[in-house]
């Protein structure tokens, strides 16, 4: 079995600016891999290239030995690639139960059907309820998503991705905006992620990165500067210079 997710020489140009410059990244099966880098390093661009929002100028994206470079976004999802968003992308007027049931129905490929009633799809709804319970969200199941506390909305972000039962999960700054002290449930939820899922965590919060990741890649100006274990990364002088040094000053 090959890598869960792999990029080979990925290039993306915005005009003359290379926002992704020959990025080759390998996320192993079941990995806990973090991608860090200073602001403007091209982390979000990379996520967009992986998920198919952007088309690369060169290079390939391979998901579980399948070349998905030319696949549209929705096909990549059905092949097992799910993501969360740095800025919440929820259904504001739908409840968490409805939202997650929708995600489950998408995974089961039932949302093309317009005759059976949703309320009769007990399995879908029960699975959604079970997932919400797993993330300790069941008490909020019937409130419109827009009225949820911010921390809960972040959890719903993750729930929507998990409902797709991905093989590879891209977490785009899950801790963004979550106040210190309220991150406990988030850390807890990340720790409980199924070990069969390969996770690529894009994050600013160094506490979370070093707690969660077994492997770290550092992205600087669109290129991978260095990759290694958390120990290697925190000891690397180049990383200290461009990243941790900056964080220490800031």
């Amino acid at each position: 079995m090959g890598a869960a997710l792999e990029t080979r020489g990925l290039m993306k140009l915005f005009g003359a600016l290379a926002v992704a410059n020959n990025v080759s990244l390998t996320v192993e099966q079941g990995a806990r891999h973090a991608l860090i880098g200073p602001n403007g390093a091209g982390k979000t661009t990379l996520v967009n290239l992986l998920t198919g929002v952007l088309v690369p100028n060169a290079g390939r994206v391979i998901l579980n030995n399948v070349d998905i470079t030319d696949e549209p976004q929705y096909r990549r999802v059905s092949l097992g690639l799910a993501r969360t968003f740095q800025v919440n992308q929820l259904f504001p007027n739908m409840t968490p139960l409805e939202s997650v049931a929708l995600a489950v129905a998408e995974r089961r490929c039932t949302t093309g059907r317009w005759w059976p009633r949703l309320a009769r799809s007990s399995q879908t709804i029960e699975e959604a309820a079970e997932l919400l319970d797993h993330l300790r969200m069941l008490d909020y199941a019937h409130e419109p998503s827009k009225t949820l506390p911010y921390g809960r909305q972040r959890m719903l972000e993750i729930a929507l991705a998990l409902a797709l039962q991905p093989r590879v999960l891209l977490l785009d700054e899950p801790a963004a905006g979550v106040p210190e002290g309220e991150g406990v449930e988030l850390y807890d939820a990340l720790a409980k992620l199924p070990s069969t899922v390969a996770v690529l965590l894009i994050e600013h919060d160094m506490n979370l990165v070093f707690r969660f990741a077994h492997r770290i890649s550092v992205l600087v100006s669109g290129s991978i500067l260095v990759e290694g274990t958390p120990e290697e990364i925190s000891a690397d002088p180049r990383v200290r210079e461009v990243y941790l040094g900056e964080a220490a000053h800031g």
């Binding site: 929705y74 799910a82 309320a119 029960e126 199924p194």
Partner: protein
């Protein structure tokens, strides 16, 4: 395939807890008492307002037309200024069939819907491209082109004079269209009710939930793996077909069709009805249609020339007072009432 591990071994209590959630959604989707009352009104109107059946048939037809737009606008979130294209095509299809000796009404409705559905499907790909503003222009353009074509093809459509000599056979070979419009009224109300049942079912299906999702957050839907365009094309096609059905119904119940059905005014009128009643509320289109036609009838009696002025004033007032249209206003009223009742009960209890 990686699966989500169960939080705890699936105990009986856990299963019951999750089943309760399914039960909750089922209860939420069930028929409400006010819905039953709403559908008893047309039956009451038949006996209480026998002189207004022609007007009320028009309400049913326009309500059906508005319902078809609500599916596109209120549920799929596609704004259209050219929905009359489908209404008109359905109307002319049924009219031409009846003119050429195929006056059987049910098959006429089906053919009207089919023709409009095909046009809807074919043009949906143009409409899907671009944002709201381009959608307005594209839908408007398609409708104007169709109207001009109908105007030029006098040999087929009768041009500005309208289509003459439409003879509609009795419904199911039994009920003849009478002078008082009784048959036409029952026929159009029955069709409206059946289409309403269809749309109600569709929006409560998994597909309907996906449509809501697309309207609320398209980016997220893409990330959930939805082929968004495909879903919208289906909604647009269904909406177009049902508008064609409404047009065919108008032709059959009035035994006449003219360029008016394809006009910009018709597209604007139906958009006004949906907005007035409340988009995305299922009943909004029908209620908006009723309100607009009744207002038009009453106000044109008072001041024949300026009735549109009063409709305009009422519309602006509604936009300021109730963003969700008449249905939104009613929902707010009910919420305020139940709050008041709760407060009274609390004060009496304490």
């Amino acid at each position: 395939m990686g699966s989500i591990p169960k939080a705890a071994p699936a105990t009986d209590s856990g299963d019951i807890k999750f089943k309760a959630e399914a039960e909750y959604l089922r209860a939420k989707a069930s028929w409400r008492p006010y819905e039953l009352v709403f559908w008893l009104l047309p039956i009451a109107a038949y006996f209480l307002l026998p002189k207004q059946l022609v007007l009320l048939s028009r309400v049913a037809v326009m309500g059906l037309f508005a319902l078809s737009l609500d599916l596109i606008l209120g549920y799929a979130g596609i704004i259209s200024l050219g929905h009359a294209a489908f209404f008109g095509l359905g109307g002319y299809t049924a009219g031409l069939l009846a003119q050429h000796g195929f006056g059987e009404p049910i098959s006429g409705l089906v053919m009207g819907a089919l023709a409009a559905g095909i046009l809807g499907f074919a043009t949906s790909f143009l409409v899907m491209r671009g944002s709201d503003l381009t959608r307005l222009m594209v839908t408007l353009g398609i409708c104007l082109m169709l109207m001009e074509a109908a105007n030029k093809m006098r040999w087929l459509t009768g041009g500005a004079d309208g289509l003459q000599g439409i003879a509609v056979s009795p419904i199911l070979g039994v009920w003849t269209f009478d002078l008082f419009g009784r048959t036409a009224y029952i026929y159009s109300m029955a069709v409206l009710f059946l289409v309403f049942l269809l749309i109600r079912r569709v929006i409560r299906s998994p597909y309907g939930l996906a449509l809501r999702g697309i309207k609320e957050n398209q980016r997220r839907m893409q990330a959930l793996g939805t082929p968004v365009t495909r879903r919208l094309v289906v909604a647009y096609t269904i909406g177009a077909a049902l508008a064609g059905l409404a047009g065919a119904l108008l032709t059959q119940t009035t035994q006449f069709v003219s360029l008016d059905v394809l006009s910009f005014d018709k597209s604007a009128e139906v958009l006004l009805m949906v907005t007035l009643g409340g988009a995305g509320t299922l009943y909004g289109g029908i209620i908006g249609g009723l309100a607009l036609i009744v207002a038009q009838y009453l106000l044109s009696g008072i001041s024949p020339e300026y009735w549109q002025f009063w409709v305009g004033i009422a519309f602006i007032a509604l936009v300021f007072l109730a963003r969700g249209g008449l249905v939104g206003l009613a929902q707010k009223g009910v919420a305020a009432l139940s709050r008041g009742r709760g407060a009274r009960a609390a004060s009496q209890g304490g």
